[in-house]
Symmetry: C2
Subunit: 223 residues, 2 copies
């Protein structure tokens, strides 16, 4: 079964890369910065995205694609911020891919958008394998998940440009070595930028917001 599975997966990934390249061209033409947000279920993606929109919406036009297996729960929360939002229900699939993103193109107004935030399906494994045409990937790791995660799920850490260590407000109540997370993440991906944040308390977001602002401005004025 392994012998059958590998080539199929490879074909799927190659087909996906082609569609993602087309998506990337489209986003570049529209000068829209696209970030793909990934994490385990319940690590705090939706809260981070809401906080990010609320902090940036006076300055930039923001769109969101919400990926979930089913339900529109997260899209409804994001809609409260006033951002354009589209929900993708994967109907069982454990990640978003380039094709699913392409299916939203007639439902979002990219001419009125500086930043597109894609919330991937909650999963620390598969989303890291699938490009979608994004400019960069950012991952959340919440400290209740434990400090062994870089060692056990290295691909996600390898593929992400940014690691947000979330729920840092829970540190007094949890055994988690944040320095170990940073050290192990840097071993896998020396270029990764790491921010400690708390979506609930709202602290620690400034560096993340500054990074987004800088990247949006670069994309709008590529020279």
């Amino acid at each position: 079964m392994i012998a059958i599975k590998v080539p199929l997966v490879k074909n799927i990934l190659e087909a996906n890369d082609k569609i993602s390249d087309l998506n990337k061209k489209f986003f570049d033409e529209k000068n829209v910065l696209v970030v793909n947000i990934m994490s385990s279920p319940g690590a705090g993606k939706t809260t981070l995205i809401s906080n990010t929109i609320n902090a940036l919406k006076d300055e930039f036009k923001i769109g969101v694609i919400e990926g979930d297996i089913q339900s529109t729960y997260d899209a409804e929360k994001i809609a409260e911020t006033g951002a354009q939002v589209v929900q993708i229900n994967t109907g069982g699939a454990c990640h978003l891919d380039g094709n699913m993103i392409r299916d939203t193109f007639d439902q979002l107004d990219f001419d009125n958008m500086d930043l597109l935030i894609v919330e991937n399906v909650g999963n620390l494994v598969c989303p890291a394998e699938f490009q979608m045409g994004e400019d960069f990937k950012a991952m959340l790791l919440s400290i209740p998940e434990g400090d062994d995660k870089p060692l056990k799920y290295p691909l996600m850490f390898h593929e992400s440009s940014v690691l947000l260590i979330n729920k840092i407000d829970l540190l007094p109540y949890i055994e988690c070595d944040v320095e170990k997370i940073k050290r192990e993440s840097k071993k896998i991906n020396p270029e990764i930028e790491i921010f400690e944040v708390s979506g609930k308390v709202g602290t620690g977001l400034v560096r993340w917001l500054n990074l987004l602002k800088e990247k949006i401005r670069q994309k709008n004025d590529p020279k």
Copy 2:
């Protein structure tokens, strides 16, 4: 791409079901109770399994299969309990399947085993789709993951006979409606048995242990 993917996945699942049926026959002949433990990354599977072994090891012979994408970190922790343990590294695959379990058959002594605990890869999506020949599935949901998880990841709740709501000691510090988790889980799966536990504090395990003891005895004395 979706149109290509669906039949492939179906073939993989059908091939897996056949192997799992063979595994089930083998486990039944050996009178070994097999439980497949699933959850998101960092929900506390390894700690629960360690605690379970330590509580039952004087009464029953226990084996463990540890599933991880890479690393032998969890298997080393389990080995400290004195249980037989085998590590499966999936090398990227996001779940265990029947074939991987079969590959351990020459590495474990099933004639000296009453209970086999399989720790699946941390993932709230894909493991629920793949049988391995187990008697039943048990899932953990840790309360920092949030009370919306049954709604968003229903298949895992549907497939599991037991739900362990873990890290209940963190309730004072987290916004999580435990009654909502129970209510939504029962809607998806009215038969699911739900236990509130804390792997860290060690409380709440008695009902889980009693359930395992009863099932081991039934398996050893099928009549």
